[in-house]
């Protein structure tokens, strides 16, 4: 299992610019916002957390369709499925998700404080948003794994994966953003939505891989 994690990390880093494109997309989305809403610093500070979350959500969805498709294209997926008695397929999926998250989503989380400065956010808001992104984005990847598994046999599944997944990620977005606001706006609580967010991630850490594994098994043809 460790071997799979290391292999996927290596592939992510070596196979041309995948990491960079995610970050670039994130930066570009955040850059476009001030042009859309105007460079009003107060307004930017207020919508900053939400914008960071939406940007991170879209950037996370961007590379998800390749999660299983790359393995399918070269035949590795067959062997991963065949090994399901040695390594439970759901566990294999979970490891692949973790590797994918480490390579292509973790850099987004690291970059988000800097973008928070661009959005003129307060330090507390920036810290809270980064923390919620760190806890919440794995859930997006894990939900995305289900979509990626369902669409694995489609030749142009990329957009479809995003469309399938986007509605499912709404709860993550709601609690992520409300926890971020909870840290700065007084009456709103931080801890409650944050804990729910963590619970969502843990829940999908179980459900996502199981569903994705089932989809992968039936997708083989």
């Amino acid at each position: 299992m460790g071997a799979l994690f290391i292999r996927d990390i290596r592939l992510g880093l070596r196979a041309g610019g995948g990491v960079l494109i995610g970050i670039l997309f994130f930066l570009a989305v955040i850059t476009v916002v001030p042009f859309g809403v105007g460079p009003d610093l107060k307004l930017l500070a207020r919508i900053g957390a939400a914008m960071l979350w939406i940007g991170a959500l879209l950037a996370t969805l961007l590379g998800l369709d390749r999660l299983f498709q790359a393995d399918r294209d070269d035949g590795s997926l067959d062997l991963l499925i065949m090994a399901s008695e040695r390594h439970m397929l759901a566990l294999t999926v979970l490891i692949k998700c973790l590797a994918h998250w480490t390579v292509s989503v973790l850099p987004l989380v690291v970059a988000s404080p800097l973008l928070g400065l661009f959005m003129n956010m307060e330090p507390a808001a920036i810290g809270a948003t980064t923390l919620t992104l760190l806890v919440g984005t794995p859930a997006i990847t894990l939900i995305g794994a289900v979509g990626a598994a369902v669409a694995v046999s489609l030749p142009r599944g990329g957009l479809l994966v995003s469309v399938i997944i986007l509605p499912l990620t709404v709860p993550v977005l709601i609690f992520g953003v409300s926890a971020s606001y909870g840290a700065v706006e007084d009456p709103a609580p931080f801890l409650a939505p944050f804990l729910i967010l963590a619970a969502i991630t843990l829940f999908f850490a179980v459900l996502g891989p199981l569903a994705a594994a089932a989809a992968l098994k039936s997708s083989a043809d």
Partner: protein
């Protein structure tokens, strides 16, 4: 044989990769030494420089911020020239030069943004404003990243060279926008004070350290660029030799 070639050498022959490698190997230690020396002197001078009557001690940030900003634009200009070299003369070194420059340019641009931000917070009271100068520099940073992503996404160097060159050329519009943004639009950022018509507006006690630092960082850029070009040429040789190795292994098994 090789002597007759070198006698009739045109300038384009001089710049073939093999000669570049010999030249770089001999020249780089000196360039590196000079860079260290100038940067050390510049650093010392900027520590000694007096505070600005308006901006106080924060003017020290200028000594690095201005060179970084200058290099971010110079690097892109070099990449644009290299892009022309790739498209017009199809010179093999041009693509190597552009590819090697992009990450260095990205780092300098990022540093220009960060140091500017650290200067802006005490002076303007905010880390960042979305005005013409700052935004256009940020767009420059994004373009560097885009170019790096594009070169890495295409495996075949010949193909990636052309695509990258075209992207670089298109992106060059941004450079005059950065340069003149302070004059064209009303912004927080102060207008150019060193290079301008009618002489510099900056006090000599601040100008000299700035100039030395700018020269030092420019030298640093060229040192790094040359070394990165060397690495890139080596990388391509490794790729070529690996292909040869695979082919010759094939031939051995056939025999």
């Amino acid at each position: 044989m090789s002597e007759t070639v070198s006698k009739t050498a045109r300038w384009i022959d001089w710049a073939n990769p093999t000669r570049f490698m010999t030249f770089a190997a001999a020249f780089l230690p000196w360039l590196g030494g000079l860079t260290t020396l100038v940067l050390a002197v510049g650093f010392w001078m900027s520590m000694q420089a007096p505070d600005d009557y308006q901006q106080g001690a924060t003017v020290k940030i200028m000594f690095i911020h201005v060179p970084f900003a200058w290099l971010s634009m110079m690097c892109y200009t070099i990449m644009t020239l290299a892009a022309l070299g790739t498209l017009v003369w199809r010179h093999p070194l041009a693509d190597v030069s552009a590819k090697a420059a992009a990450p260095i340019g990205a780092v300098f641009t990022a540093l220009a943004l960060v140091t500017g931000s650290l200067w802006g917070k005490p002076m303007w009271g905010t880390w960042w404003v979305w005005d013409a100068r700052l935004t256009s520099v940020f767009v420059l940073f994004l373009m560097y990243l885009g170019i790096i992503a594009l070169t890495r996404a295409i495996d075949d160097p010949a193909k990636s060279a052309k695509a990258t060159a075209i992207l670089t050329l298109v992106g060059f519009i941004n450079i005059p926008i950065i340069k003149f943004s302070v004059d064209w639009w009303n912004t927080l950022h102060q207008p150019a004070s060193v290079l301008r018509m009618g002489g510099s507006t900056i006090d000599p006690s601040l100008l000299w350290p700035l100039l030395v630092m700018a020269i030092g960082f420019t030298l640093l850029f060229f040192t790094l660029h040359m070394q990165a070009m060397r690495n890139e040429i080596w990388r391509r040789r490794v790729v070529a030799m690996r292909r040869v190795a695979a082919r010759s292994a094939e031939r051995r098994t056939v025999q």
